[in-house]
Symmetry: C2
Subunit: 398 residues, 2 copies
């Protein structure tokens, strides 16, 4: 799969990273001089953005002034040979640049052209600027997250950017499967708001089924208990002991309170939800006496689902996470040796792979022009002089 | 794509729903009598689970006692003709049942066999029971979500279940693309913990790059301001006015405080982050005087990214969401006409489609045995008598 990647910042680059991890050949096309905005986002390692390097591995970079006639024509020449184009400009921008789906399709019938935007390419809000936080707000996710009586909080990571990125990944793959069968391409329209909304299946089912509008519940489950974070000595522990068997094991083997099993306040799952505040108080009275690790061990021994709340340093140094290959290393020409996240989809025969580090700005411009478009050294020199491309490789030093 | 779906509850069923939405032929295999646990999860519409109906559309249902020799053999016969099998039992269960990857592969070299679990099929925690909340805790997501000084809160939706589901979707599609080229299948191992961790790209980049361990920030962005929820008269408004141009427009055209632009406390993005508490106070002093809708309109007029925090009733009745087809309707034989979420990946040529409502338990058992395995009426009668399958169709009335 050959991918031309016009995307910047997060949703689009996350999509093309996954395609690259799984074997696609990705050419990232960047603005000359500055490149993807993420290149100037800290923290930096030897002047290279750690965030940029994280989500742009397995890609080549070429600079191109898409606003110039020559730049546009170079893009269209590359588009003739591509399977997939991904862009996340505001709706309308690619049309203005003359590199929209209709234009490319006239040159390459098989092109799969995926546009990612805040609100989608059509509809009353399509022209609004949409960042992750607005999409979290509109898709309902924020209304579900936080303490019941506190301020609204956002999901800590940029969840709607990610949701749009992965929705784009599987949409592109679905279109590619069609293309392998029919040789025909298509246009794909993915938005941050809708991709997040599509994940709210329980919440939407409750609303459509009974008109229930769910509220935020802190760390609690809405219809199961105990299923939440409880305070321990110096921290918290997560317990998912909601089904009757887990609950009984929890009482007998974890907290040594067998009398709770027949307590009418906690007897059935329904009783426990009705008395959830009281249940929390009783459980915490016991749990605050020992550390999180103590309780995690006891939960494990009893076979009751439970676990810690890790911060990222704990997650990324946990022996299980390491054994599962979720921390890998690459060697970057400027930043040096650096750790990076591994690949969550473990395929036995064609596993994803970190084949190369994120590119320097324009690192592959000349190589691509030479090899893909067969341009001569004079042609390339001319493009450099006209500032259609930048001199390579360009490290954006901070 | 022919899919045999052994999954229950959320992560697996979400995966096979998307495959079905995009055109796959999905046979859901359920325990006789009770079926998928979600069938007994409220709310109910005419006795049918709204949650079950939401994520099991576009599937057929057959009952089968996999613990019986005959049931196992029927499964293996179906597996010979399948492209994909998806399961989310605890690691080891399919081996014990005699329907694991190695067994199926011996009968069907092209099988793509995807296992979804809490912690993955290998590693020290692989045998632990892993629900969504534990995966949120271990993958770091919870440590990022909530008020800085409050209790940890979870992401309101079951985000790690969903992350595993969509990671499985694109992994299966990647394997299917390989299969179309080579006719060979493979095993896929996806976990709730890793699929959520893989989304924490900025947070992991910060940790790997500089050893930064990010903390929860409520609704605020860690490195941009203003980018958060602010109180208004009776509610909140989201503002994403962090870049310099948006900030200046915000001061001039939204809140009419042009003097803030040159105020040394707010002059640069760095200044605004350093004085973020003070900035919040000043902005809220203005915003609390008018309603959310007033400020959303002013933000839109000024071209500054902003928006409301919707609850699900607001999201699912918003004119943009409706125009984008995110609310659809199906006709269920027992529940009647019911609304459901639309499809977030909009493909122009082969769009996803809600072709049929979620099945009743075992609704298609006899049809599948007859058409796929060419069993006679007597064979089917025999299986019914031995309780290998249930009499169809079975509505789990509550």
């Amino acid at each position: 799969m050959k991918v031309l990647d016009l995307t910047r910042v997060m949703a689009g680059p996350y999509c093309t990273m996954i395609l690259g991890d799984l074997g696609a050949d990705v050419i990232k096309i960047e603005r000359e001089k500055t490149g993807d905005d993420t290149r100037s986002m800290g923290p930096f390692v030897n002047g290279e953005s750690a965030c940029f390097m994280m989500i742009n591995r397995n890609k080549k970079s070429m600079t191109l002034d898409l606003k110039s006639e020559k730049g546009k024509n170079i893009f269209l020449e590359l588009a003739k040979k591509a399977d997939v184009i991904v862009e996340n400009f505001r709706p309308g921008v690619v049309k203005k640049l003359g590199i929209d789906y209709e234009t490319v399709k006239a040159l390459n019938e098989g092109i799969i052209y995926c546009s990612i935007s805040g609100y989608g390419q059509t509809g009353p809000y399509s022209n609004k600027g949409g960042y992750d936080i607005m999409a979290q707000g509109m898709s309902g996710l924020m209304s579900m997250t936080g303490e019941p009586n506190g301020h609204p909080v956002k999901v800590g990571i940029s969840i709607n950017d990610i949701s749009a990125g992965v929705t784009a990944v599987y949409s592109i793959m679905a279109a590619f499967i069609q293309k392998l069968k029919s040789s025909r391409g298509q246009f794909i329209d993915v938005s941050l708001v809708e991709s997040g909304l599509a994940w709210s299946v329980w919440e939407s089912a409750g609303y459509f089924g009974e008109g229930i509008v769910p509220n935020r519940t802190g760390s609690r489950h809405r219809v199961s208990a105990p299923y939440q974070a409880y305070r321990t000595k110096g921290g918290y522990v997560l317990i998912g002991g909601a089904n009757q068997r887990s609950w009984e094991k929890f009482c007998q083997k974890v907290v040594n309170r067998p009398e709770w099993i027949d307590d009418p306040k906690y007897k059935t799952p329904k009783d426990r939800i009705e008395n959830v505040d009281d249940l929390e108080r009783c459980i915490e009275e016991v749990l605050v006496k020992k550390t999180t690790q103590y309780w995690v061990d006891r939960l494990d021994d009893a076979g009751v689902p439970g676990g810690p709340i890790y911060t990222y340093d704990e997650t990324l140094n946990d022996p299980h996470i390491l054994e599962r290959g979720m921390v890998q290393e690459f060697d970057h020409p400027v930043a040096g040796k650096l750790k990076t996240l591994g690949i969550p989809s473990k395929l036995s025969e064609t596993p994803g792979k970190i084949r190369k580090p994120a590119p320097l700005l324009g690192q592959h411009t000349e190589e691509i022009l030479r090899e893909e478009l067969l341009l001569s050294e004079e042609d390339i020199q001319q493009l450099l002089e006209e500032n259609i491309i930048s001199k390579e490789p360009l490290s954006i030093q901070k």
